[in-house]
Amino acid sequence: MPGMFSELAKLDNWSQWSIAPMAIVFAGAVATTLIAGFVKDSTRRSFIGQISIFCLAIAAAVNYVQWTGGWQDPGRLVWAGSMTLDYLTMLMNFVFIGCAILAILISLNTISELGIEYGEFYPLILFATGGMMCMVQATDLLMIFIGLEVMSIPLYIMCGMRRSQDRSAESSLKYFILGALAAGFLLYGVALTYGATGVTSLHGIQRWTMENGGLAANPLLTAGLALILAGFAFKIALAPFHMWTPDVYEGAPTFVTAFMSAAVKAAGFVTLFRILVTGFFQNGYTASLVGWGEIIAILAVLTMTIGNFSALVTKNVKRMLAWSSVAHAGYAAVGLAAAPAAGADGVGGVLFYVIGYALTSFVSFGVVAAFEKQNGGLSQVEDYRGLGYSQPFYAFAMTVAMFALAGIPPTVGFLGKWYVFKAAVEANITWLAVIGVLNSLVSVYYYLRVVVAMYLESPEEQAEQEPIKSSALWLAVLISTVLTIGVGLFPKKPLGAVEKSVSPMFVKK
């Protein structure tokens, strides 16, 4: 044991400090697992949720110290070049921690309503959060893969946590099978990339592609990139790798769905653009070394269209939101498609979009969670009729979410769409922006249907529209609603942070 500590002490101090927030989250995950084991009475374990929030808050505080100057050299590579701590990482750490806290707040009282063990959920969500933090911090495909798996494996379990429920179990199994398949794609892609370039670090791949004239020369690398793209397209639900999304989102407990659609999607997008921009893109070229921009553009069109049109004919609110989540991945991908030509504007658009979408999805899924009961509750659009009068707060929050998702100002959703579409026009792919705008036109219809049901229709008979009594849930919905409007009105700081995060990626070295 003493030897091990002396080894640790020899490690670069930078390295240890750089992963402090992630380490705290993982420590919290281990601690909550142990605590859950020592508390015999399972009904008294709800305080584990509070402990988790406490851990996350500490991690956020450390992250804040790093953001405000505690980390002197943003972008410096640590841990033998396999990780970095740049502003992008720090910003995303805030996002992931925030998402985890919101998900936990939603879960605190609903979890027992759905018959889920306290001792299982909280360690798992902490592990998943730590995995995401690892994934966006990594600059080596190996670390990225490990982060991805540490994020995914807890999610497979979390989807199936309503163990007595057919749907939940099925959702978990589907996510697992397809997730494992996608992990196989990703790994094979990494293997081929390694075969072609001899390295797994993103900077090494970039150096190799620069020296060897890009993909054109090497079919191994081409195949590798295709496989990596497919692996991540699965995580962020780009068509045709999206088909798991509605099934899994619908079957999973709603707070897990919210967490997935907010945090997992954001983590996937950020990692994907880190890989593409750092590894397969060269500054100074007018376009990327390989034509991934065009491919993402095609995927974006498919994704938006399929997501929106399917949502149009879906009556179940949660499933409709799942389809809408697919569509929003498509909008965000528009910014990614613009990145080769529009640079930081394109990637910044993606980042702002996914953060804004994360906020909005906590509002919408939070409201759904408030009315989800073990047996019954509100599920179809018709069930929401007259909610505007029986539950004004939740109905108002839902309205804000719907307007934000439809992209109506001054919500954050409008600004997000604005950025990605503007980036597309700047990148001279106006057709993509046109398709995006037309798609958001279609989407208004189904978002509006929920608002119409809540405010302009009366329930058939006096329906039971009692929300789950939970001040934590109420608080989570309130926070995310306020942020959805607030960031839309005062986006200066968040936008500054986004720009600060992505612009170093495009600085010529």
Binding site: T222, A230, F241, M243, V290, E426, A433, V437, L456, K492
Partner: protein, 677 residues
Amino acid sequence: MQFTLQHLGGNEYSFNLLYLIPLFPLLGAAINGLLWPLLNRITLVFAERKLPRGLVHVTAVGAMAASAGAAIIAFLKLRGLPLSDSPVFVFHWWDWFQAGGLKVAVAFRYDQLTAVMCLIITCIGAMIHVYSIGYMSEEESYNRYFTYLNLFVFFMLILVMGDSLPLMFVGWEGVGLASYLLIGFWFEDSEKASAGKKAFIVNRVGDAGYLLGMFMLFVLFGTLNFSELADKAAASGFSPADHPWMLSAALICLFIGAAGKSAQIPLYVWLPDAMAGPTPVSALIHAATMVTAGVYMIARLNFVYALSPAAMTVVAGVGAATALFAATMGFYQNDIKKVLAYSTVSQLGFMFIAVGVGAWWVGIFHLMTHAFFKACLFLGAGSVIHGMHHEQDMRKMGGLKSYMPITYWTYFLATLAIAGIPPFSGFFSKDEILYKAWTGGNILNPAGKVIFFTGLLAALCTAFYMFRSVFMTFHGESRADEHTREQIHESPRTMTAVLAILAFLATSGGFLGLPHWIPGHPANVLEHWLEPVFAQSAGSLVFHEANGFLFAVISVAVALSGILLARYFYLTPAGQQKAEAWRQDFNSIYTLVQNKYYVDEFYDFAIVKTIHAFSVLLWRIADAFLIDTVAVNGLAQITYYAGYAFRALQTGNVQRYAVGMIAGLAVLAAVLAAKGG
């Protein structure tokens, strides 16, 4: 709080009173929407009584009065500065967002054009709030109504005061939302709720155009702030010839946005349906303010529109087509509000003719006079509906003149104004539009002449159908049943007082823009006032000389003949018999184009029967077929089928999903290889 007027250099003055103009209605909405219901719950629990209803309208009207007061103070301050320096008030509230070279601030701009718009919105808005007290007195959701109404005014003020296209867009979307809520106000009626939905969706089509146009303008100019846009457009470095299609495309896209909001062909369909809302709402939103937003936007962007004759021709052409088409639609409406709705569409067409031919101030002039007389007409119609206990069918009215004298006289004066009889306000503005259409040399030839004759014909139709509505409603024998007739009554004082004020404005508003041909050349107040706003584009626009008096004579003659024809057909027995005879003669056409909704009156009118046939055909093709069947239903069907098709792929079998993923991977690899290899 201290209000300071500070010179920023150039022609800009910082004036921190500006933000109060939109803030008051927002506060009103917040108090009525949140505070009172909350207090109401508390008093219900503790004191077991409700708050007095009066609180609601005192709050709402007070907010409007305060806002109007602020707007008037700003106007007076602006007038105090020498006009030759083209002074502009600005107020920078906060930086909204900034990214990639685009900086957008929440900042207001109060120049001469904004002043006109703000005064119209706040003053007419305040009057309509007062009118609503009487009109909505029996309404249960009293506070909901006033909340929405205040909210609407707030967004409308953001729309006209915003100093950049994105901020204008916030108002643009906001008024759409408020209008949607108000159209669907009586949501128990599902037809009315769906009318609200139609309005919202059609507006979104326009909004898509607005957004795309905005992006393109940004690509062209690198900014979206109005004054910076103007500088960039004026700079010698910018030549429209460098961007042959992009500029026109951007402006036409923006015009699609304007057409959506201002109900022009083919996006006019929502406005007649929007009459489902309460009548004061129709007066405020669907006549005086929101629907003129498109005209305002084009006038605001005059300096870029002046660079593209093609875009201007489109604007003027669509305006003229709409003016005529909607006017002919006015013939066979029996619902008094539908007549006014089509008339609004038609008058908006006139405004677009004006801004399309480059006569910006005339467009704003007609916008203003139209706000006066159309608000008066709508509120008059509301008064009739109120008096008749929610009867809107003119065939069941008649002879109301003696029951409702104030309503009759105000409605009559406003009708004279819209028909274009001097010296009522509509005469001056409409005559000026036709004059400018004939003499303007800024659009592609010979569109100006065609537009002139189209407009003249539309003016004839306007006089006819408006007097038809007067005669059917107020003259002749009462066609109401016994029971209703006993209960017909004049409206309360809050309503008639507003009618009287508006009728006065409709009568005298035209004197703000007296034409040049009047002996002695009296000053044209409005043109002079708006000069600084349109100064930049004025240099490049050409208007020929012509005898203005002659045009005035022609348009008066046209208006009078329209009135006389209406009188002949609707008041004299001979005319009615003739109409009946024609009805028999054209029986075959009757069956051909039969539509239960309007047939009754379809061929009363031999002189324009060809136009009628044409317009009905157009209506059949454009509205019933293209819009309803293809666009609304057809597209909806296609979208739904596509949705079901995608859904069918979603079999639930996880292995199918795996197949999808692997197939997707194969295609991905193939595409990459094809590109790379």
